[in-house]
């Protein structure tokens, strides 16, 4: 597998974009999506390395990540719905209940 | 029945599981189930008592692998000897009483409360039976949490303050203990021990400097729990704010953790350091006795008064334990049990009137004897037990402590401590008089109901124990005696002060050499075993 570096670079770029998204957006759902993006970037690295090293552990790991992501999506979105019910908004600027 | 000890310890946890399946609104069921669980635990613990062999060895030992992480090997290593036997029984004996006392006192979050109680029981029992230092530490911390919640959730007006104070005080001590524990373990590893098992450490020879530091760390942790002057200020707050059952357990069992810690860990592990610090600790104990009595005298809140009386009583225990002879330690152990019974009873009594009047100020009462004769009788018996009247349990322990301490190097301390018996009479009788005697002039008190059947049922076992232990303490002393003899020998033999003579050696100095007209007490004419310490330590 000769193109390992290409995959890694793409993965790094995607991860960076995800980070920027998480840090700059206010909409909780978009932030959530950015987190998914970061997760996927990592997944790509896993799969690429797995292929490169000839080991399946990385891919198995990706499967687990996907499971966790699915669970996270369910719980996270439920949280957002609950939050929206209370605050009529899902902007993270409106969440500061943990303030000092 | 080889694992009856584990069974006793973890039955309450099973009870917690059972409680989880009971809806929280059915309070009656919750209470009855908890009571049943504690009663069954008590019955099971009685099988321990009946199977106990009167000798100095640890019994009912269970030793299983538990955690092995690198050099750290912790084992599930439990067992009891005569010293811990009675504390286990005391715990299982007090718990049903404490549960029964909550039937009307706690109406909110009953389920959580009961779970806390049961968790607490497991924690306490576990701490008493652990023969593995690390296991002990775990249980030690386990106790802390339910108690914290009990004070913090079901407490009085100032509950958060009290709960946090209690938690932080105890936590500071126990963290210090943890550090000392780990340090001790590494020292042990160098000497070839294989795990945290307590018994291995007994044969460990540590140099004096190490002993002193480790002893101080352990002693500090236990001193907070005892509590010894001047680390006692969490106790009045915790007691005042805690619900009745919490106070009862706190006084009856939790405080014993401190003194038990000294007897089981701090002293036998570091005997030389213990000898070195004995005068200091005895001084603190004696100050505690007098100080707490004086402060108790002027309290306006009955519960606070009882809390301070606890400090004084535990001061006696410490004095006895640090006499390092059989009488003193037996007295200390007995006094732990006595204090559990009589101070527990006192807190229950305060709880009874608090439930009726929702006040604990002494000035709000007066003349209750007329309205509540049964209550008056019970209160009086318990008061006199707390004072240490001969024939009640308080006397036996106090007397043995004093006579043991008098035999040892702590003679002058004993004289001062003995004056504490006067003060205890002053404050207890004064509060009794102000609450029970006099005119029944407060209109709110005129309609008070006397104790009901449940309340009497709570008190009767305690009253029976008060007289039984006072009139026939032999079964108690006999069972703990071999273990205490062993402990006393252990402390004596390992002492660096090598000029120790065996106890049987009669002294050769003729009696008449004591100068006439001079209290020949300060200079012992012959070095008998117990007072053979460094000359500069003898006052």
């Amino acid at each position: 597998m000769e193109n390992l570096n290409g995959y890694l670079v793409v993965s790094a770029i995607l991860f960076a974009i995800g980070t920027i998204g998480v840090l700059t957006r206010k909409n909780a759902i978009v932030i959530f999506m950015c987190i998914e993006l970061m997760l996927n970037a990592v997944n790509l690295t896993f799969v690429a390395f797995s292929r490169h090293l000839g080991h399946f552990d990385g891919q198995i790991f990706v499967l687990f990540i996907m499971t966790v992501a699915a669970a996270e999506a369910a719980v996270g979105l439920a949280l957002m719905i609950a939050f929206y019910k209370n605050k009529e908004s899902i902007s993270v600027d409106d969440v500061n209940m943990m303030k000092w | 029945m080889s694992n009856v000890l584990s069974l006793t310890t973890f039955l309450p946890i099973l009870g917690v599981l059972l409680l989880l399946f009971i809806p929280k609104d059915s309070k009656g069921v919750l209470r009855n189930v908890t009571l049943a669980v504690t009663l069954v635990t008590f019955l099971v613990s009685l099988t321990i008592l009946s199977g106990f062999q009167t000798n100095a060895e640890f019994q009912f030992i269970e030793n299983m692998p538990w955690i092995a992480a690198g050099p750290f090997v912790m084992r599930y290593n439990i067992g009891i000897d005569g010293i811990s036997l009675w504390l286990v029984i005391l715990t299982t004996f007090i718990m049903p009483i404490a549960v029964l006392s909550t039937y009307t006192a706690v109406e909110e979050k009953v389920k959580e409360y009961m779970i806390c109680l049961l968790l607490l029981e497991t924690g306490m029992l576990g701490a008493f039976i652990s023969l593995d230092l690390f296991l002990f530490y775990i249980f030690w911390e386990v106790m802390l949490i339910p108690m914290y919640f009990m004070i913090g959730i079901w407490g009085g007006k100032n509950k958060i303050y009290a709960a946090v104070k209690f938690f932080i005080y105890t936590m500071v001590g126990s963290l210090l203990m943890l550090v000392a524990l780990i340090f001790l373990y590494f020292k042990g590893l160098e000497a070839g021990i294989t795990d945290f098992g307590l018994l291995q450490f007994f044969s460990l020879k540590l140099d004096m400097a190490t002993q002193i530091w480790l002893f101080l760390a352990f002693a500090f942790a236990f001193a907070i729990k005892v509590p010894m002057f001047p680390l006692h200020t969490w106790l009045p707050d915790a007691h005042t704010e805690a619900p009745t059952a919490g106070s009862v357990i706190l006084a009856a069992v939790l405080l014993k953790m401190g003194t038990y810690g000294y007897v089981r860990f701090a002293i036998p592990l570091f005997p030389d350091a213990a000898h070195k610090f004995a005068p200091m600790i005895a001084t603190l104990a004696v100050i505690g006795i007098i100080y707490a009595a004086l402060v108790a005298m002027v309290q306006e809140d009955v519960k606070k008064l009882v809390a301070y009386s606890s400090v004084a009583h535990l001061g006696f225990v410490m004095l006895g334990v640090f006499a390092f002879n059989v009488e003193g330690i037996s007295g200390g152990m007995l006094q732990m049990l006595n204090h559990g019974v009589s101070t527990g009873a006192l807190f229950l009594i305060v709880g009874f009137i608090y439930e009726r009047r929702h006040t604990r100020l002494i000035t709000d009462f007066g003349g209750l004897s007329k309205q509540m004769p049964v209550f008056a009788t019970i209160f009086m018996i318990v008061t006199f037990s707390s004072i240490g009247l001969p024939g009640t349990n308080g006397f036996v322990g106090e007397f043995l402590i004093l006579i043991g301490a008098f035999e040892s190097q702590l003679r002058w301390w004993t004289v001062i401590a003995t004056s504490g018996v006067i003060l205890s009479a002053v404050y207890m009788l004064w509060v009794f008089q102000r609450v029970m005697f006099g005119e029944l002039d407060n209109p709110k008190n005129q309609k008070l109901a006397d104790l009901n059947v449940r309340e009497i049922a709570i008190m009767v076992p305690l009253i029976v124990m008060i007289f039984f232990m006072g009139l026939y303490p032999k079964p108690f002393i006999d069972r703990m005696d071999p273990a205490i003899r062993k402990l006393a020998a252990q402390v004596r033999v390992t002492s660096v002060n090598a000029q120790v003579l065996p106890v049987e050696t009669p002294a050769g100095t003729p009696a008449l050499e004591i100068p006439s007209g001079h209290p020949g007490m300060s200079t012992p004419s012959s070095p008998s075993s117990d007072k053979a310490v460094n000359p500069h330590e003898t006052k």
């Binding site: - | 005080y169 005298m297 002027v298 001969p390 007397f399 003995t418 004064w430 005119e439 020949g520 004419s525």
Partner: protein, 668 residues
Amino acid sequence: MFDNVWLIPLFPLIGFLINGFFGKKIKNEAVIGGIGTLMIFMSFIVSCGILLQMIGLPPEQRVFEKVLFPWIHSGNFKADMAFLVDPLSAVMIMVVTGVGSLIHLYSIGYMHGEEGFYRFFAYLNLFCMSMLLLVLGNNMLVMFIGWEGVGLCSYLLIGYYFHKKSAGDAAKKAFVMNRVGDFGFLIGLFTLYWWFGSNHNIWTINFTEIKAASHLLPYGGVVTVATLCFFVGATGKSAQIPLFTWLPDAMEGPTPVSALIHAATMVTAGVYMIGRMSFVFIKSPETMMVIAVVGAATAIFAATIGTAQNDIKRVLAYSTVSQLGFMFLAMGVGAFTAGIFHLMTHAFFKACLFLGSGSVIHSMHHALHKIHSHDDAQDMRNMGGLRSAMPITFITFLVSTIAISGIPGFSGFFSKDEILWQAFANPYHGGLNIVLWGVGALAACFTAFYMFRLVFMTFFGECRINAKAKSYLHESPLVITIPLMVLGFLAAVGGYIGLPKLIGDMFGGIPNYFEHWLEPVFALANQYSAQYAHHGAHPSHAFEWSLMGLSVVIALIGIGIAFTMYVQNKDLPGKFTATFPALHRAVYNKWYIDELYDFIFVNPCKAFGQFLWKGFDVIVVDGVVNGVANVVMGFSGIFRYIQSGYIYNYAFSMALGVVAILGYYIFK
């Protein structure tokens, strides 16, 4: 019979349990009182049996020990629940059960209609049990159970009318002062135990064993310390200087209680204890001297106060304190037999006096109640002329008064004169003897004075209460007068078992039975005392006769003064008071001892406690704790503003941290 000694305390215990648990349900006063009285009477019968058996034995075999069950065994320490029967304890159990039975019987009448009748009898039985334990204990610890047990019962019975604040205060005061004494007792016990154990490896608190080993004890030194501590215990229990103030206050209890506990039995426990350990006390000349001095001082001190009191029971209370002083004086001069003898005669006449005063109060109370008067039924200024209304009470009271005043032929004379003689002639205290005798004789004069003052004010002259009430005055019922008569009889003739040798010889060599009886108990003490006694000249018989005559004259002078002041010339007391107002005020207010104690001990203690609590606990200890907490909170108060609560702030700092740390490792 000896084997059944355990029955003696058991019967009252049974009575206590029955009355205590079921008394409230029984309700019938006759049954309750009957049970109480019967139980103590059974003990009396058993005691008689023991006494008879003992009389039948040769003197050296009159000691018996009975172990009931092991009590506290730990390490070297060993104390069994065990009884010791010897001539001394035989005397004591006879007094306790005998006088006790009479007083129980009396109480049925006296306490009639009182609320808590059953409670009274339960306590009284409990008291008898404790007192019997005290006198029967074969080691110091069993004695101590009794010692504290009687203190407890005293507390309960003084506080019997618990709704009265004064009763509660008095009860507490009595218990606490007794506790001060107990402190001494314990320290004495520890010292003796420790000394024997560490020096001779004899770890014991058993009287018999200590007696056997007492030859090892040095003279003075540690024994002085131990015995002085024991004596502190005795002063507490027996109301001697400085711990006597509780006894007059203890009169808040019902009168039978005053008679039984605070006159006949409990307060003599200190005397008994010294007698029981005579072989230890005698080894310390210093302690003996202290005891003698304190005894004499108390005798005179209390007697002076007694002259100015108006409450009939208080006069008797101070009289008791004073008479106890005599007993201690006897003990202090080594006249143990005389002390115990006076203890016994005092039990008779003082019990009779108290019961008589109870009878008076009962009648007065009844009369005043009928006319709805709230006058004090115990104030002698309200009495007078009761002679005609209450003849039996009067006669028995008079007999006892004569006995206590030391008129020849009555019991008090024999015992008191013996004490005074021994105070003069004892071979221990050298020049102090004259002083001791003088003080004792003066106290005897005062005794005669205030006792006859009491009699004159109460039974003679005009009745000072309302004429209407007067018609209601009447003699008490039989249940009250029978004990009075028995005790009056004993007060009159009880002294003849201990005739002084002088008088005995005159009547053809009648021996001093009492002395012979107690001889085996005190023989050892007398033997030790020979070590330091001054073998001075023995006063002649003629001298003894003249001293005896002198003491009679002194008593008669006291009576004469009382007669002059309270019968002949009734305005004399008023004049006297007007002439020496300060003196009268001081005496009337008991020399301000209570106020002094309040000032020196009670108030500073309270203030110090307050200071420790509010000053030390709250400010210093909690101040440090809270101070640490506040410092932490102060810092966190600054740092908490970092917690904005906005997610992006946290995310930023987290990402920044990750980037920075990663960057550090990558570019390193």
